[in-house]
Symmetry: C2
Subunit: 246 residues, 2 copies
Amino acid sequence: MMQDEGQDNEGEKPKRGTGRRLHGAIAHKLGSAIVSGEYAPGDKLEAEVAFSEALNVSRSAYREAVQVLAAKGLVESRTKAGTRVLPRSRWNLLDPDVLAWAFTGEPDIEFIRNLFELRAIVEPAAARLAAERRTKDDLKIMKAALAEMRQKTLATDAGRSADRDFHNAILHATGNDALIVLSASIGAAVAWTTQFKQRSRTLPRNPIPDHVRVYDAIVAGDGDAASEAMRLLVDLALDDTRSSMG
Amino acid sequence: MMQDEGQDNEGEKPKRGTGRRLHGAIAHKLGSAIVSGEYAPGDKLEAEVAFSEALNVSRSAYREAVQVLAAKGLVESRTKAGTRVLPRSRWNLLDPDVLAWAFTGEPDIEFIRNLFELRAIVEPAAARLAAERRTKDDLKIMKAALAEMRQKTLATDAGRSADRDFHNAILHATGNDALIVLSASIGAAVAWTTQFKQRSRTLPRNPIPDHVRVYDAIVAGDGDAASEAMRLLVDLALDDTRSSMG
DNA sequence: ACTGAAATATGTCGGACTAATAATCGAGTC
DNA sequence: GACTCGATTATTAGTCCGACATATTTCAGT
């Protein structure tokens, strides 16, 4: 699942990858640049006409891209005043796209720590609710994800995808839409950090037992055990990630 | 802080309020319609040309509005296939705009319950972190918000705003960006539900003591107490809200 | 210091053209 | 004859262009 990096020839002409729309490609390019700090909050973007010309795209396409960024809280446009990058506090950092953009460059260690802190808060609580409310279908999905994960390992895309599926299934089993949307954010964080861990030379611990403990507790309907097992899982995952980043 | 309801004459011509851009108004109109269930997931929106004509706006303005909705996961457009409403699971329900749209109509009881469940998970944990990490500035802001809240009461906009400020200050004091972004969502939920409670005839309990307990614990740097006090606060708030909805 | 005119960047408009793809139709096959 | 597969067509979103409207900043003039 390669990103499209490396195809911007000298910073111009954002080409769209397969199926990607032009304004989407522009949004991706600008969004990444902003989130990665290439533009600082308060910075003014070049004027629409000039910028769109520089990118060799129509003003319409450029504007549609900016609307997307504005919708995600990255920028704000005002007549005559131009388009400015908003302070980081206004960014929708949990938006899946923004999260993806945040991980296009070298990831910010501090931000990863923050995401893990969020996971450490949400996922144990979610596991508890899941243990109390899971349906047979939920369990089936979790079991399948676990099996896939065990077979493919986290070294493969399929394995990481299964890992995400497992965590998503737990969030989903809570039946709480507000928690379920977080699965998109948390899932993205899990995926990227897992891949990051994998990159480092040292092969980390086998994650399966941790996951199995959570699964067993949810099957048993034991909320306390599920919460505790998940807390442990996230803690250990953070340890692994931390050690692979120095 | 009135909404702009009542200005759509017979479902056509979305007029923009002061300062509001046209595409923003269209996005608001369509977004509310989608979130409130006027369009069901899978439904196809009328074709761009036809729809924009029906709304008496240019196709560009309409398209920019749709880009915003797409950025928030509400719709997806594909060439020739049209623009379709995505399943609710893909909506960025925690996006402040989406949240606002969700509360333009009669609020969904189940969804409010879900938001409270999220609050009950996140806010106690945040209060604990805040107790451990708060700066003098954080405390000053909380104290000011508390004073304002006590003076204006929750019956006024200013009072509700202070309530939100208090909760935001706690999230902010965690120093965790991922949690801070949630303040926009949680804050919105707090505001709307508080207003909703206020609407009902029975004057609810005085919320100040609950808040003071949280504040005192954070000042004392007592994480356990802060977490517990916040847990109680959210529980009581849910009780109040529940009883005012039947 | 205040007022108002001009400059300028975003916002909106309309229409033309492109590209992607769902739907249709027809040739070829079983 | 029914069915599968492939080319054709029709439709709809995507992109481009150029003009004008609107809102603010800026600055000149009093």
